[in-house]
Symmetry: C2
Subunit: 362 residues, 2 copies
DNA sequence: CATTTTTGCACAATCGATGGTGCAATAACC
DNA sequence: GGTTATTGCACCATCGATTGTGCAAAAATG
């Protein structure tokens, strides 16, 4: 039954109610009161008053005054795949652990949109930005640099800012070896049976292609070629690439390296248009992890980037603020087929019902 | 080669540079200048100056003054499944269309965390909140109500605030009919072959259970019972429910209704521990859509909530601000097995490479 | 030409918090 | 008991925008 009239309480309200000045109230509420030699009595009085009045700090006002905001941004291309949504989830948890408020936005792989989006974040005075999966890292970097905004690249190489990236080269090599070994059990392979789909002219793709070739060349003992179908990060283009291949060869390659889960969705579309028999004998490797993909009707190996380690390292880099850009490489994890890993979902505590519940009386 | 010293330009800087007063500059920059009878000349002069100086509005200052922020929140339980991540993606697009900045946060199905998270959003003076998939809608509602924050429930029923929900009842009925029909092709079914896994004591689950029973009862002509395995929204609990069932019956039910993709992940974990033969003869229905799930080794029917329509309606409700809470019901879509729908990913314009690219010279 | 109207803008208060500075009252000290 | 230190807090400028109000100068009107 505390006093509760519609509007939100401010430090001035508490100031009047407590008889203390606004600056005293402010100091008490933001924790700087010891430094300001406010007596414990006064502090406690104000704190209990604040609780009674349900005071909460107006973060826009604080942010304006201190030219900070407590916001950290994460820029991703899109949310709706397991890699980036899982990154968003982990990012949120890690940001909150550090007392920051996460703000996740997508740039949709459009350089203009990426820049505009970041500019909006800057207009809200965000304190730092994590940049993941953008088309134009340097453009974004410039926007950040102009605003003096600390930022790190995640899973992107950066000459201009520090970066944390997956070991695409080695991860792809390990992944390729795994699918080659698996496929070889089904009969002798030839180089033409092993094809990479997806990717782009970006650092990650180039590294993955290099790893793919390294493993393949080692396996066959020759230098392979004409085995890369570039599609960009587009399900549609990937689907078309599969259709082209299929029209040309009358079958899929026995051994598929798929550059990312987004490209994998292109394969799904292809699957939707073709008989299951087409996929009876293939083995796939995908650089990304999706639990449902792991249980498809053919063996799917995946390389799961260590998102949590990448973000953790990203926060460290922001705190350390090295003078020169630093690149940190983090190993992805090879996930064998039919594996459902635990994830952020498992941390949530969902009440476990004691018993079955009846259906409603319709 | 415009003047560009490190710090950000403010209206005062532009005021000095332009010879106009700060209020004039402000009016020009926020578009209210016609109303304030600023001459077009002056406006243009200031606008070009602003461009040259790369002026951007400090949104914290604006927000403080106008006690708005341009932020809209979306509260989800978790991001990392296709339903909520797709919702986040759609939400972001729709918010931006309306000139708002989306802020997506997760409450992790913890009533306390939900409230705290919303309080943080309120502290940033968000303008409106979309509430999706929370455990304690009424608790969140109270927090919003106290702050005078407009809000709508998405896919949640609400007596206290307006809601947009999927037609869980009918969607489940249609979904159940579909899997029954499919499974019946594999031989005569008995009621015990048809079981629902997942869910909770919440509105959506109750409705889905009702729809499930309606379809099942109509199919068999009797009232069925003992066919619901409640697990909460937890992969772990769902896995255990499958293990229990399997230990008891020595097989899975031929016809599975899975309450959500989160519960489906529980089935995946079960799958990881059992031979493929266990799944040879089953048909699944899942209330949620995930493209990868659609291509599992057994037929999977899905009911895809119409996220975009729900959010659209949510924005309408916020604008209309009806005096009494309104509930809008939106039909989900039945998705047959082996279907890879297009999604937000397809809107992004990813440059299509002209040709194959070479691997890097390692 | 005198008066009213309109145009074009400047002034100043304000949003809610922060933090440097100053100043009484009390305590400590010789 | 007089002087210096310390304690405890209030005052006030400030962050960058918004907006109600006021007032000259120019234009319109009779």
């Amino acid at each position: 039954m505390t006093v509760q009239n519609s509007k939100k309480a401010t430090i001035y309200d508490l100031s009047v109610l407590s008889g203390a000045s606004a600056s005293t109230v402010s100091a008490v509420l933001n924790g700087s009161w010891r430094k300001r030699r406010i007596s414990t009595e006064t502090a406690e009085r104000i704190l209990s008053l604040a609780k009674a009045q349900r005071y909460t700090t107006n973060l826009q006002a604080r942010g304006l005054r201190s030219s900070k905001s407590g916001l950290v941004g994460l820029l991703v291309p899109v949310y709706d795949n397991r890699f980036f949504s899982s990154m968003a989830q982990t990012f949120e948890a890690q940001a909150r652990l550090r007392g920051l408020s996460p703000m996740v936005v997508s740039g949709r792989r459009d350089p203009d949109e990426e820049r505009r989006t970041v500019e909006t974040l800057i207009a809200y005075s965000i304190d730092a930005l994590f940049i993941a999966g953008v088309t134009d890292p340097d453009g974004v970097h410039q926007v950040c640099a102009r605003a003096g905004l600390p930022h790190v690249n995640i899973d992107l190489p950066g000459k201009l800012a520090s970066s944390v990236i997956s070991d695409n080269r080695n991860g792809a090599e390990v992944l390729t070896s795994a699918i080659l070994r698996h496929a070889a059990q089904g009969g002798a392979l030839v180089p033409d049976d092993v094809v990479l789909f997806g990717g782009h002219d970006d650092h990650a793709s180039r590294e993955r292609i290099a790893g793919f070739h390294a493993a393949k060349d080692a396996f066959f003992g020759i230098e392979s070629q004409n085995d890369i179908e570039i599609t960009g990060y587009s399900p549609r283009m990937t689907e078309l690439a599969f259709e082209r291949f299929f029209a040309r060869e009358g079958r899929l390659p026995r051994c598929l390296f798929i550059n990312s889960s987004i490209n994998f969705e292109g394969l799904l579309r292809f699957m939707g248009r073709h008989d299951e028999a087409v996929f009876a004998n293939i083995v796939a490797g995908c650089f990304d992890y999706d639990p449902f993909a792991s249980f498809l009707p053919f063996p799917v190996y995946m390389a799961k980037p260590n998102i949590s380690a990448m973000l953790e390292k990203g926060f460290e880099l922001l705190e350390a603020a090295p003078v020169h850009p630093v690149v940190t490489i983090i190993e992805p994890q090879l996930i064998p087929p039919r594996t459902a890993l635990e994830g952020p979902l498992d941390d949530i505590r969902d009440p476990v019902p004691a018993s079955r519940i009846p259906a409603p009386t319709s």
